[in-house]
């Protein structure tokens, strides 16, 4: 159950089986899929000397090269391929598609291959972005992929198709034929579950895997049941970079960072290729700082020893270590730059103070204190507008049903502090999108007397770190699943599918509407501490607060009929 290894396996298998000079031909989608899991030097080592896009019309004819194609079978890509085969640039073509091909597509390709250049046609199900070994995303972002069509209960047909394809590819690449459960209150989850079950039935042969002791479980959840997690300030390295700078396809765009060196304008953060990142991606900023320091010290030691070259032996050592040393120096400066930028933003935006309030709003009922604190922060000019809005949204979500709800006065206060009405309308939007009426479970544990008591008890235990005390709602669901206590009424099995009552060994969680790195961290932790059970988390995308609020506003426009 390692999505990175699965996709990597596909890519390397494509280029490995073939000897001689090769070109790898990709399309828009597969370029990002491949770039997440394979480096250029990995591909070069496999004699793959050129990587090009199939929609690049200015490719030279190189009939002595073999061509490995990896394409998503979209209408667009197939069209490009048809044109390519009509007038082939390369000698032999080994076609790989990231999903199932329609029979008609195969026939169409067979029809145009007049030069008999195609040697193989394969389906390799690497049709998703493998971000961490236990996290994948489909990268479905508006405007290309809208989640909803007519109402919040209907999928956009295009997005649904892509989601079914991506999720089924994930299952196939992991070789899982799961029992499907979904969140009852979400029409989207139910529809996706049904479509997926239908797909599995249709492609029965593909899903003919070795039987596991207990069937794996696919749990389909809806982001709307937990609007809080994507709104919080993050303190875990990976999550923090995504929240404050943004990670897209494993790349971080640092060009907006002041005084950045030119080679650090765009950097890659990949746990697979960067051991330091792998070690630190789930550490909070404090621990990360200590690690960075140790890393820099190590680098300085090496530099020092490289400075003192006195004997032949030293020289030899230097020559041997130099390439490794250079790699280290690049990596050190990369992480130092990123962490420097993070801490700059933390101070600039008063994020520690903000986060303390956020955590309090997310975890406990302290209406009076929180409100006072919130009013103070709104009046602080250094706190950016977005942050103020996020805080009010968290407040509005938690105290939605509270008799003392002061959202209205907070909005007035925002207006007084220069936040336009148009911008603060997002507060109402988030309530309409994922307010209490829209949610299935008692997210804040404040809806009934009993749950309030429970949350009070939880508070008594004390917390290790004020800023990271929040656990995503997902945690509770999985805990119940592991204890076999997940209720059929809230998380039914899909009609006509298999049902299991045993403790699961493999669990795949898919979040419709996007997951977060905080949840990814929780899953990684769970993987490390739960012997005998493995988890993989996926989502239509990976949110930070900005992208989540874009979704909220889009959805809200839909509800109110503004398109």
């Amino acid at each position: 159950m390692d999505v990175v290894k699965a996709v990597q396996g596909y890519v390397l298998k494509m280029v490995d089986d073939l000897r001689g000079m090769k070109v790898l031909l990709l399309d828009v989608d597969t370029t990002s899929i491949v770039s997440l899991v394979a480096t250029q030097s990995q591909l070069l080592a496999k004699e793959c000397y050129l990587i090009d896009r199939i929609d690049n019309k200015n490719r030279d004819r190189m009939r002595h090269l073999k061509c490995v194609c990896f394409l998503r079978p979209t209408a667009q890509s197939i069209q490009w391929l048809v044109e390519e085969l009509r007038n082939p640039c390369y000698g032999d073509y080994y076609l790989h598609f990231s999903n199932t091909l329609k029979k008609s597509t195969i026939e169409r390709l067979a029809e145009v291959d007049e030069h008999e250049v195609v040697r193989e046609v394969q389906e390799y199900f690497g049709d998703y972005m493998a971000i961490n070994s236990d996290l994948f995303s489909l990268n479905l972002h508006p405007p290309q992929y809208q989640l909803y069509s007519e109402s919040l209960a209907t999928w956009n047909a295009n997005t649904l198709e892509r989601t079914v394809q991506g999720l089924s590819a994930a299952l196939l690449s992991l070789k899982k034929k799961p029992v499907i459960r979904y969140e009852r209150n979400s029409a989207l989850c139910q529809k996706l579950a049904a479509e997926l079950r239908y797909h599995i039935q249709q492609e029965g042969q593909l899903y003919d895997f070795r039987r596991a002791d207990t069937p794996p479980i696919l749990l389909i959840l809806d982001r709307r049941n937990d609007p809080v997690t994507p709104l919080l300030t993050q303190w875990i390295y990976q999550a923090m970079v995504h929240e404050l700078i943004g990670i897209h396809n494993g790349r971080v765009d640092m060009s907006n960072v002041p005084d950045i060196q030119s080679e650090l304008k765009e950097i890659v953060l990949s746990a697979d290729q960067d051991p330091f990142f792998k070690k630190c991606m789930y550490l909070n900023l404090g621990d990360l700082g200590a690690n960075i320091k140790a890393y820099v010290d190590k680098y300085q030691n090496k530099t020092k020893s490289n400075m003192h070259i006195e004997s032949i032996a030293d020289m030899k050592r230097f020559v041997e270590e130099y390439p490794e040393f250079r790699k280290l120096s690049g990596n050190v400066s990369k992480h130092v730059a990123v962490v420097g930028e993070l801490s700059r933003k933390v101070t600039q935006y008063h994020l520690l103070e903000v986060s303390e309030l956020e955590q309090s709003l997310a975890n406990s009922e302290h209406h009076g204190d929180d409100l006072k604190h919130l009013q103070q922060l709104i009046a602080t000019p250094a706190v950016p507008e977005e942050t103020k809005l996020r805080l009010v949204m968290l407040y509005a979500l938690r105290y939605e049903k509270s008799p003392n709800n002061a959202t209205r006065s907070l909005k007035d206060l925002l207006a007084k502090n220069g936040v336009s009405d148009r911008r603060s309308s997002v507060i109402d939007a988030v309530i309409r999108y994922a307010g209490e009426k829209q949610r299935q479970d008692d997210l804040f544990s404040n809806q009934s007397f009993l749950s309030r008591g429970r949350s009070a008890l939880k508070g008594l235990k004390g917390v290790e770190n004020v800023y990271t005390q929040h656990t995503p709602h997902l945690a509770e669901t999985i805990e119940q699943l592991l204890k076999n206590r997940l209720r059929d009424t809230s998380f039914p099995f899909i009609d006509g599918g298999e049902v299991t009552r045993e403790k699961p060994q493999d669990v795949i969680i898919f979040m419709v509407g996007g997951t977060t790195f905080e949840e990814a961290k929780y899953i990684a932790q769970l993987n490390a501490t739960t012997p005998g059970t493995r988890f993989v988390l996926g989502g239509t995308c990976v949110h930070n607060s900005t992208s989540f609020l874009t979704d909220v506003v889009n959805a809200d426009n839909l509800i109110r009929g503004i398109v």
Partner: protein, 698 residues
């Protein structure tokens, strides 16, 4: 084995050790409270105070409280076990439960290897159904006979069936074998005694408990117990289950007093307080509690069986090494066959079309050849076929190169300007080859969809007769050959005519593919050499490393001269291979191909990849001198100092070039700090080289 076993051993050291050959442990558990401190606190043993070896009936359950109550009512020995321990216990106790309570009698056989999740039912026997808190032991629906698997509608029926069918069997076997009879008898009496005791408070008259249980006893299994029974010289409580439902323990590692956890890196001493001692059911090794947290389904041979297997605790390595667990290779599906089926059809069509067009092409060529001949400059030709001499005589205004036909196609009609007059003459003849489409019917070009106008003229394709535009992507003038085979196209064309690109593709399909493959760009040859060199090195390198290892291992004094020489020779070969590789890759990197960014890219990437490869593989070679140095003082022709110096010089030179490379690299990347360092290095190297050179020369 587990706690209980050990604890029996303490009580009765000799008898138990003598039974250790038996796959079954003594089911006997009877202990005085003094022993219990040795037990893990999680085991609650309630013991009968009676010192006599009364038949002991064990009741095993996950619900401790419930069972305790029963025990006080009936004075049976009782072991209550924490939920997760019951497997361990049951596997040692081979259990059989008789629980008299109120007016109900249950005979519950808890099977060994009982999984935590399944409650006994399938083999439970119960004589009078009544509502009770023990309904979990009452099977629902039909039950199967534990001996012959006959399914019975109810427990009563099963009881009757056992009476009828299996009582005889036990007795019969007893008669067959005296020994068995001897064993069976005590067992039977024991059960009778037990029954009496148990039945006292019962009004129920219709139990066939004794017979039933004796029926269960397989004589073969019983013999295993004979020793135990006799040695204990008491009527020991013996009950055995059909082997069918337990996972074998034959492979279990015997329990040693100072065993440690088998988990790599754990080494915890087992059996101490706080550290449980458990077997992995699959590999049979001993582990501490933490390292047997995994469960998987095993069959009777302790092999993984996801279908019918029983849930058993296993260790991490057994769990993670199960088949498919670490399988990272995703599903793939090969659609090549389907594709090829479709393509065969296509190719049939293509070949047909190709032949048809080639025929037309040849007819056109003949027309041109004839017309050409008719023109004043040439003499008449008898047939459509021209002799090579004739062709040579005819001078084309723009002699066609032997370039790929493509280039000719794109070279618009310039070649035929002077033939304009002639072209008119061709036209009528050309129309006989294929009927031309009516101009008036066509408004846009069928290929690129452009509208025809004064500037965008209409043209006819001479092969299919369609009206197309004159854009080079839609139609162009192509050379005509009398012979359309690949060799025939090497001859000089007899003329030029316009055909559309669709027809061009068909008609020159083979020729184009052929041309591309015949004249490879220089990189292909170079790369081929590169690959061969690489293969050589990959073959030689392990040989060399082996030789080195041998030299290192062997005594330096005893080492023969030949071995050393051979190693040195291999090293030299390798070094030269590396040098060749390096120069080859540089040559490729410097190859020029104007107007072709793709080729430039290709060349550079090959160079980069080779450099990477060299760095990786040369590091192995760099280590050599260290090892070879002590081997050097062999009686050699030259003085040892000189050889040493020579070798040192080699190394230094090697390093010198490397540092130079680093410098250029660093300069390129504008890492001036590094460059400074490197330069200092280089200077030092230089002086060192000078020194050694002087040494060698002396």
């Amino acid at each position: 084995m587990t706690v209980n076993d050990r604890f029996i051993t303490e009580l009765y050291p000799s008898p138990c050790s003598s039974t250790s050959s038996s796959p079954f442990n003594s089911p006997l558990v009877h202990a005085s409270p003094t022993v219990s401190p040795n037990l893990r606190p999680s085991y609650l043993l309630d013991l009968d105070d009676d010192d006599e070896w009364n038949p002991t009936i064990l009741l095993l359950s996950r619900d401790a409280k419930k069972m305790r109550r029963i025990s006080s009512a009936s004075a049976v020995t009782l072991a209550t076990i924490r939920e997760e321990e019951d497997i361990a216990i049951s596997s040692n106790f081979q259990l059989y439960i008789v629980s008299p309570f109120a007016s109900i009698q249950y005979i519950v056989m808890a099977l060994s290897g009982l999984s935590a999740s399944s409650t006994v039912p399938s083999r439970a026997v119960h004589s009078s159904p009544s509502p009770s808190p023990y309904e979990q032991f009452i099977p629902e629906g039909p039950v199967a006979c534990p001996i012959c698997d006959l399914s019975c509608v109810s427990l009563q029926q099963l009881n009757r069936h056992i009476d009828d069918a299996h009582t005889l069997y036990a007795e019969g076997s007893g008669e067959d074998d005296d020994d068995d009879d001897d064993i069976l008898n005590p067992v039977k009496t024991w059960f009778k005694a037990a029954q009496k005791k148990v039945m006292l408070p019962l009004k129920d008259k219709n139990t066939n408990f004794a017979r039933f249980s004796s029926g269960l006893l397989d004589p073969h299994l019983m013999s295993n117990f004979s020793n135990n029974l006799q040695l204990s010289s008491q009527q020991a409580p013996v009950q055995v289950l059909p082997e069918a439902d337990q996972v074998t323990k034959a492979h279990w590692q015997p329990d040693r007093p100072n065993a440690t956890c088998h988990h790599p890196g754990c080494r915890k001493a087992l059996g101490r307080s706080g550290v449980g001692k458990r077997h992995c059911y699959k590999c049979g090794q001993l582990y501490c509690d933490q390292h047997v947290q995994f469960t998987m389904r095993l069959d009777r041979q302790a092999e993984h069986d996801p279908y019918e297997g029983i849930w058993c605790p296993v260790c991490q390595s057994c769990f993670t090494s199960q088949e498919g667990y670490n399988d990272h290779e995703g599903t793939t599906r090969d659609r090549t066959t389907l594709f090829l089926k479709g393509r065969t059809k296509t190719m049939d069509r293509v070949h047909l079309e190709e032949n048809r067009l080639e025929k037309r092409m040849e007819r056109l060529a003949r027309i041109h050849a004839l017309q050409d001949v008719d023109s004043p400059t040439s003499s008449p030709v008898p047939s459509g076929r021209l002799s090579p001499a004739m062709q040579a005589k005819r001078t084309h205004p723009n002699p066609p190169s032997h370039d790929a036909p493509r280039s000719l196609m794109h070279r618009a009609s310039s070649s035929s300007v002077s033939l304009l007059g002639l072209r008119k003459n061709f036209r009528d003849a050309e129309r006989t080859v294929v009927g031309w489409e009516e101009d008036a019917n066509v408004i846009v070009c069928p290929i690129d969809g452009a509208k025809f106008s004064f500037s965008n003229r209409k043209h006819h394709c001479r092969l299919c007769g369609r009206v197309v535009c004159g854009q080079p992507t839609c139609s162009s003038e192509v050379p005509l050959y009398l012979d359309m085979s690949i060799e025939g196209m090497d001859a000089e064309p007899v003329g030029y005519t316009r055909i559309c690109t669709d027809c061009q593709r068909s008609v020159f399909r083979r020729k184009m593919a052929h041309d591309d493959m015949v004249r490879p760009p220089p990189v292909v040859g170079l790369y081929h050499r590169l690959v061969r060199r690489k293969e050589d090195v990959e073959k030689e390198l392990p040989v060399f490393q082996q030789a080195l290892a041998m030299l290192e291992k062997g005594d330096v004094q005893n080492q023969t001269h030949d071995d050393f020489k051979r190693a040195a020779q291999t090293r030299k070969d390798l070094l030269s291979s590396f040098a060749q590789l390096d120069s080859l890759s540089k040559t490729i990197g410097n190859l020029k191909k104007p107007n072709s960014p793709s080729y430039q890219h290709l060349h550079q990437n090959i160079h980069i990849a080779t450099t990477q490869w060299l760095q990786e593989h040369m590091s192995a070679l760099r280590m050599v001198p260290h090892i070879l140095k002590p081997a050097k003082p062999s009686p050699d022709v030259a003085s040892p100092e000189k050889i040493q110096a020579q070798q040192q010089l080699d190394i230094l030179n090697e390093q010198y070039t490397q540092v130079q490379e680093f410098i250029t690299d660093a300069t390129k990347k504008r890492k001036f700090d590094d460059v400074k360092n490197l330069r200092r290095n280089l200077a030092e190297l230089e002086s060192e080289i000078e020194r050694v050179k002087a040494l060698v020369a002396s």
